[in-house]
């Protein structure tokens, strides 16, 4: 680096650049907040309190520790963002109730002892997530 480019110039570019891009990011965040109401199914959330309860069940049992939800989480077990569309409500409930399978050598899901009401709430949560506009992701129903 030549002698004309001084440390204080470098520092000023650092602060200027950072602040500029931080402000752009905040502006994009603001724009984001204006657009997502058309995509995030918030009307459903307001209409059906079971969805929020379902999200708590999802979190309190740390489902994300094995599964992905809209592609985020662990990669040990199937994507659940579209599980409502892939399997339907009855299969989901029956599956959760019947765990663990105990099949030797196969990946095991714990038994979470959810009540029927909790299972319905979890399914309501999955239905809500499956209807979020994700720009056609995943590429197919297998997730």
């Amino acid at each position: 680096m030549s002698g004309t480019f001084t440390t204080s110039m470098a520092r000023n570019i650092f602060f200027g650049g950072t602040i500029f891009f931080l402000l752009v990011f905040l502006a994009l965040t603001f724009q984001n907040e204006q657009i997502i109401p058309q995509r995030d199914q918030r009307a459903q959330l307001a209409a059906n309190p079971a969805i929020a309860e379902g999200k708590k069940i999802w979190e309190n049992n740390q489902c994300i520790g094995c599964h992905t939800l809209l592609g985020e989480g662990a990669y040990f077990a199937p994507e659940l963002g579209n599980v409502y569309k892939r399997r339907g409500p009855d299969f989901i409930k029956a599956w959760i109730k019947s765990q663990p399978t105990g099949t030797p050598g196969r990946r095991q899901m714990p038994q979470f002892n959810l009540t029927d009401k909790q299972l319905d709430e979890l399914v309501a949560f999955f239905k809500y997530v499956s209807e979020i506009n994700t720009s056609n992701w995943p590429p197919n129903i297998e997730g």
Partner: protein, 458 residues
């Protein structure tokens, strides 16, 4: 070591290495569960092993950053630490909180832990990497604030260098963005959007400032190159980091319900993210080539060069591999992500922490560098761990490509578990590479117990 209070770093470094070992052991458990699904079930289900694996990583890196800061800030500021006692007290609080949290994960079902720790009062748990119970999260905030207060006061009373400034900015950013872990709306799109303000703006933002500052500090010490030159490099690198990384957050906003405009913004800016990492590679090699002294600590120089290379490969190249939205459409949430995650965390952050440990530990133990034998052993550990993480990454990449093909691209896509069974060969190879990593880690720990000294303290 020029200031007595720098010695508090030793505690942090020792605990960091202990948690590093825990992280690797649980990683091996998970790796085996990928192929022998019922291994240790139901005692340690996969999700529990994963929480310990990832949380131990985060905590030991934070411990490493804190140790690094306590070591280098007094030397940069040319004054004793504002309060060594506060630093020691915070260390024990942090360690005990981390230990209790891990015990909670292992001994109590997660739903029970959530109930016991008052998650209903303010739900924050059950989100990836932010699984910690509310009291632990609050503890992290308290420890971080006390730590930042201590360091900021030290810098304010002493010399203010660019390295201190960049390091403090990185650490303050770390603390501030962690506050978003307390925001957990019912709306999944908003939850995910702001979750990334912790995760992305940490690892692809402010943590890189910490990494750059640590690397710059060690390079000044081991090469003797003028501070002026090194600080300019540091500013250029962190400028490129934040110019690309802040809007690069957009590469996480492609498929989670956020507007499609993020696909263009995220692709463009995250495609630039490898540049600052390449800058680090050039930086490390350039400074070592222009060295004005032969530092007796060859191992520390090796770690510094290794950080430059591996951060670029793991974070830069493997990040770019799947960052463009048309590619990411197929790779999102597959083993490709896992491959990138492993080499990026190792190359950037693990190696940076091991660099400062390698440089500072001998000094804190009263010698300029370890004995030749200890350094040779440490370098063996360097190569074993580094080569095996490369292989872990390559095997996971192969697994990811096959997974994408089988599950998402082929004419007859198969279900997740069918695809997983077909790629199990690669998971086995990954696990064996993991065993080699563990051997490397054991040798690394052994290197600390090899006696003898090269030179008296400078």
């Amino acid at each position: 070591m020029q200031y007595k209070s720098q010695a508090v770093a030793k505690l942090y470094f020792i605990a960091a290495i202990g948690l590093f070992a825990a992280q690797i052991l649980f990683g091996l458990v998970m790796g085996l569960q990928y192929v022998v699904g019922d291994f240790l079930f139901p005692a340690i289900p996969f999700n529990v092993a994963r929480m310990v694996h990832t949380n131990a990583l985060i905590v030991w890196l934070l411990m490493g950053f804190m140790g690094a800061a306590y070591y280098l800030i007094p030397e940069e500021a040319e004054t004793e630490l504002f309060s060594p006692k506060l630093a020691i007290a915070m260390f024990w609080i942090f360690l005990v909180a981390a230990a209790l949290t891990v015990l909670g994960y292992l001994l109590v079902p997660y739903a029970g832990l959530a109930k016991m720790t008052g998650n209903d009062l303010w739900p924050t748990m059950g989100r990836e990497f932010l699984e910690q119970p509310l009291p632990t999260k609050l503890g992290i905030v308290v420890v971080a604030l006390a730590f930042l207060f201590n360091l900021t006061m030290t810098v304010l009373k002493g010399r203010k260098t660019s390295i201190s400034l960049v390091l403090l900015l990185g650490l303050w950013g770390l603390a501030i963005f962690f506050l978003f872990s307390f925001y957990n709306p019912d709306n999944v799109v908003k939850d995910k959007f702001y979750w990334w303000w912790v995760v992305h703006l940490w690892v692809e933002g402010v943590w890189e400032l910490i990494l750059g500052a640590i690397l710059a500090f060690v390079l000044i010490k081991v090469t003797g190159v003028d501070r002026e030159v090194i600080e300019k490099w540091l500013y250029v690198i962190v400028t490129l980091t934040l110019i690309s990384g802040i809007l690069g957050t957009g590469h996480h906003y492609y498929w989670i319900g956020t507007p499609e405009s993020w696909q263009l913004i995220g692709s463009i800016f995250s495609a630039l993210e490898p540049i600052p990492f390449f800058g680090m590679t050039l930086f490390a090699f350039n400074m070592v080539n222009r060295r004005r002294r032969e530092h007796p600590n060859k191992a520390a120089v090796l770690w510094a060069l290794g950080t430059g290379v591996m951060a670029f490969l793991g974070a830069g190249v493997w990040g770019f591999l799947h960052t463009l939205s048309p590619v990411n459409y197929y790779t999102h949430g597959t083993q490709i992500t896992a491959a990138h995650g492993h080499m990026a965390f190792y190359g950037a952050y693990v190696m940076a922490v091991l660099t400062i440990i390698s440089y500072a530990m001998p000094l804190m133990r009263g010698r300029a560098a370890n004995s030749n034998k200890a350094q040779v052993v440490e370098m063996w550990a360097f190569w074993l761990m580094t080569v095996s993480i490369v292989f872990i990454t390559l095997f996971l990449t192969a697994a990811g490509i096959l997974q994408v093909w089988l599950q998402r691209v082929s004419d007859a896509p198969v279900p997740f578990m069918v695809a997983q069974e077909q790629i199990s060969l690669f998971y086995w190879m990954r696990e064996w590479a993991g065993v080699v990593f563990l051997i490397g880690l054991i040798i690394y720990i052994w290197s600390f117990f090899i006696p003898g000294e090269e030179k008296a303290k400078a």
